[in-house]
Symmetry: none
Subunit: 262 residues, 2 copies
């Protein structure tokens, strides 16, 4: 599957009715962050202080992006999700990656295809690599999203919460280029997701087992990097879009027990 959107018959699944090519406008707090533009490194969340993300203190930049020393960048987005629970996101990350039609529900204007590197079905996500093709802004991107245990990043996740953590890399080259964390916690009327990305610069490395030096691949890796602003928009769009029907999708696919393999 190498096209955007649904074509003939793609909608003939138990979840097909959830494909909606219309996406809502960005939330006001995201628009405000885009207006403000790049921020100073010291007011952005530090990768060396990710544990702070687990407490509920509002960080100095909950929505925004900026360049870091050494050529890296950081992006943060908050998504408010009435009616959603943290376990729904745990389910989503295990469920969507085996079928491009599922992956497309999430960002109907930008998601092209997804499959697990192990070729398997939807069982879990931690410890697996999701190979995706998606547009970030206008950039056609092929990424390897390697989900890891939150403890690998030193996170102690409260029982009530879910933290999706991944090493971000190229699907074509043995190069990793960044990290992501989506921390989901319950709120009075649903859940809140705090997304954090650190990419480029010191977050670039050749995958273990390859002989080339990190330095040699840095210029290649840099070409894999999205524009920070585009990444902020993409993340805000996909999270808000999915959150609007995730409770219904989750109920349909888990409680009514349809065949998971379609």
């Amino acid at each position: 599957m190498s096209y955007l959107g649904y074509r003939d018959g793609d909608e003939n699944t138990p979840f097909g009715e959830f494909f909606d090519p219309q996406m809502a406008p960005l939330p006001a707090h995201v628009v405000e962050a885009l207006e403000h533009g790049p921020q100073a490194e010291p007011v952005l969340p530090g990768f060396d202080d990710v544990a702070a993300l687990m407490d509920s203190t509002v960080q100095q930049t909950e929505n925004g992006y900026g360049r870091l020393a050494g050529g890296a960048f950081q992006v943060s987005v908050r998504t408010d999700m009435p009616g959603v629970t943290p376990p729904m996101w745990d389910w989503w990350f295990g469920w969507h990656g085996s079928d491009s039609r599922r992956y497309k529900l999430w960002h109907p204007r930008a998601h092209v295809c997804a499959q697990w590197r192990d070729g398997g079905a939807d069982v879990r996500y931690v410890g697996r690599t999701s190979l995706v093709r998606e547009y970030l802004g206008s950039a056609d991107t092929r990424a390897a999203i390697q989900f890891v245990e939150p403890s690998l990043l030193g996170l102690v996740v409260p029982e009530t919460d879910v933290a999706i953590c991944a090493r971000l890399g190229s699907a074509d080259l043995p190069v990793d280029v960044g990290w992501l964390i989506h921390h989901v916690r319950p709120t009075a009327d649903g859940a809140q997701m705090r997304s954090r990305f650190w990419m480029g610069g010191r977050f670039v490395a050749v995958r273990r087992g390859f002989g080339i030096t990190d330095r040699a691949v840095a210029p290649i890796a840099a070409r894999q990097l999205p524009d920070p602003r585009d990444l902020l928009v993409h993340c805000a769009q996909e999270m808000n879009h999915l959150a609007a029907f995730l409770p219904q999708l989750y109920a349909r696919m888990t409680q009514t027990d349809p065949p998971l393999s379609v």
Copy 2:
């Protein structure tokens, strides 16, 4: 002092309570200017016609930015300031530059430190050079702001108004890169500031007394230049932020006569 924000004890001054890390959203007219993006040179205020700024005619671009011929750029911002008077800004420019804790009140997310090149205290600003470190967008910038008499730029400032004028340069290299004017005039309910920046291109020059040619330093100077959009956002943020408490700060620091050196 080389950090952003206030730390232990920084707030223990007669003005410490005015430090507020929360900044308001940008005014609607600034957001509109950002949405419109770069403008045509002929609709931007010309440096050769700065005298026109002193009359009250609305200029064709009161808020906006654009590239000029020869690699320069121009930025304009209007700030509406209820309750503020022009003399308060005259006082502010003389007062803030001797103490980083004062400078940080102005833009708590971007101002790192400030001192006068002459090492002196707060007496006046015209004829002095303020050495500052601040973030413009994500760019860590060290600038030398050399305040001059408005008459140097050919301005005839009405009695009721204040015009803050400066040559902008590098704090590290003997290179100047631009000019700024903040023209403040009274309005029915307070004051209005019209800020104007001209930077890069023909506004770059080696400071007098140095032998290198202007041409040789141009590439170095170019690296000192902010993104015009980031400069517009920064100026709008700091002017609106300070204007919200400048009347109270001014009253506290001048009428109640606390020690000015803390």
